[in-house]
Symmetry: C2
Subunit: 391 residues, 2 copies
């Protein structure tokens, strides 16, 4: 046997300092220059409107990108699960808002432990509720600590998912919160409309959010009349935050996808009231099979989520324009974007823009972070997806 | 501060021996009794047709389930990536077939290292090829070892993905293989038609596979005429293996999903020539938000892949019949299956049958394995998904 064979061949997609060419496929790659430009645009927007910027970390699931956002001016991070909150806290993030409902006693005990941990570091945990039962269970769990948790009442402003209906239901919960244990602090309203984010036209989004804003306004008025005016309204996403900002009703915005962007957001008509963001998240793939009419690459829907559609092929200068068709978990099938167009050769590299960034990141253990562009850049760092699969 | 708060609250979905009720949500749960019955039915079928059974581990991605299949009579396992092969080898599996093309030099070096490692244990690695370039690169990498790798020429019998066209193209590659380094052994043909598996009607599947079998027959005849008759033809999946078996052309079958099943396969009209399999893979979820017309659970498409459709709700005796609608990455929206039907309460448990088992397993780090059924059973073991995200 030949001694040069290492029986434990390393399974690394990239080494820091190597050129982009050396990144093994399929790999999830972040163009850090583009991501930093996106972040700067968002920070400037929030400053102009005097809005608190609390980016949603359900997108990148990474303490390192959370720290980048805090350094740029974000007030804290949002997450969607207690596991994501724990992962960010372990990575040094101190101000975290779980924008979702939790009912399981075991999870609520973890919430209490985390509130305690963050409080000892001078930080703060927040959470959303939409039921009396949820408040009771949270109060019960918080008896484990003297820490205080900020509680936002989620109202359904039109998405039809979680949240109480606009108006009196929120007043009842706000009153319950005010009467509850001193460990629960009524912090305001969670008012997010996920369905609006991906309406294609600006006019559609404005119309849908006008109705949502009216529901929020009604609720705020009812709360104010009861002496329970919300200290803060938090919400908004990458597709619509310009509209929430202009309304004057929201004090904090929670966009996530703007940092990396995805094919689905790129399909939206851009709102001139919002800055323009550029794609910063890519799947690097390789052609593993080829014939005269198609080639097959090694990136299927195990490499990128397809809940919001298939990826776009991002042709670098000199690369052919291609159309991506679904080839299952492990394969993508590529044909020329126009009849008679060129195809790449066996072994060639492709760059894909995933349809939806959040669940795409959740498929990967690492983000390969590149500076200097996709054509000639090099690997700056490899960032763990700390909260991958964290519930 | 209260000393009873553990700042590092454990993040375990289940403990061995606990009842099913104690499993935290969202969790991926295997009903082991059902999976064992499915396995026994498949083993008996393969024995009746004197077929080698090589289940596809791209489905469960777990060395523990691979060992269960070998103990029941499987000859080895299939995988789709070299990373999956490495994970199974690390878990003690010695006979592995990578049913996919690899072109990257780094990956082919890992293939050579793994072939070497398995050979030292008396095992065997196999791989598929569909290009002259692929054979050359594989031969180059295999110079690192004196181990021999079994090489299967993949032919496209109708799926339109990887594989050479039927007929002469396979002869050219078989000749190249026979002339290549003695580290490459021409082992036969890889002939799998993924597209047939999910054709709903038995008649449709039989018709599509009749055409596929004709392409295979043509190729085998051309190879035989050139003195290169394939030693073995391997292929087939859970949706069609009864048809391949009846054809007499295949010597080895590669079904994966039969062990756990999924909503998409359950939608197929059952072929009476195949045994009936039962669902054995479930997502346990919890209701976290409720109102009069809908409830929301904590399992969205971060818990189950939706490339082959949304999950079915598996109502246990006494549970209401529900319809699942997509609520995004983290949520499912449930309404009564029939108008006026009952809804579960806040905090109640739901069981979902995922649309597609392979990419669903890939979202999870562990399979919670239960014996005694979903209603009253208990946790038998917690199985790591060894090859999650392994490329």
């Amino acid at each position: 046997m030949n001694a040069s064979v290492d029986p434990v061949a390393p399974r690394l997609r990239a080494l820091i300092g190597q050129g982009v060419d050396a990144i093994d496929t399929p790999a999830l790659v972040v163009d850090l220059d583009a991501a930093n430009r996106n972040l700067q645009r968002m920070v400037e927007f929030a400053a102009r409107y005097r809005l608190r910027l609390r980016p949603h970390a359900k997108m990148h699931k990474s303490a390192q990108f959370a720290r980048l956002q805090l350094q740029a001016g974000a007030v804290g991070l949002c997450v969607q699960t207690v596991g994501e909150a724990e992962a960010l806290a372990a990575g040094g993030i101190n101000d975290i808002f779980i924008t979702n409902e939790l009912l399981a006693v075991g999870k609520l005990r973890r919430v209490a432990a985390l509130a305690h941990q963050l409080a000892t570091r001078g930080g703060q945990l927040a959470i959303a509720v939409d039921s009396s039962e949820g408040i009771q269970r949270l109060a019960q769990a918080m008896r484990l600590t003297r820490a205080v948790i900020d509680v936002f009442i989620e109202i359904d402003i039109g998405q039809g998912r979680c949240g109480v209906p606009p108006g009196d239901a929120a007043v009842a919960l706000a009153r319950q919160l005010s009467d509850a244990s001193s460990s629960l602090r009524y912090a305001g309203l969670q008012a997010y409309h996920g369905g609006v984010q991906h309406l294609r036209g600006v006019a559609e989004r404005r119309q849908a959010l006008a109705a949502a804003a009216e529901r929020l306004r009604t609720t705020c008025a009812a709360l104010a009349a009861a002496g329970l005016a919300p200290p803060l309204v938090s919400g908004a996403g990458t597709g619509s935050f310009g509209i929430e900002a202009a309304s004057g009703l929201w004090g904090e915005i929670q966009p996530g996808s703007f940092l990396f962007m995805d094919a689905d957001y790129l399909r939206n008509e851009r709102d001139p009231a919002q800055p323009q963001f550029e794609p910063a998240l890519f799947v690097k793939a390789q052609v593993i099979s080829a014939n005269a009419e198609r080639v097959v690459c090694d990136a299927g829907h195990k490499s990128h989520a397809i809940d919001s559609g298939l990826p776009l092929v991002h042709a670098l200068p000199g690369q052919p324009a291609l159309h991506y068709a679904n080839g299952g978990d492990e394969h993508g099938i590529l044909r020329p974007a126009a009849p008679g167009g060129a195809l790449p050769a066996l072994g060639d590299t492709l760059w894909l823009i995933p349809g939806h960034c959040d669940p795409t990141v959740n498929l990967h253990d690492h983000l390969i972070v590149v500076r200097g562009g996709l054509a000639a850049g090099s690997v700056d760092t490899v960032v763990p997806v700390d909260a991958r699969g964290a519930w």
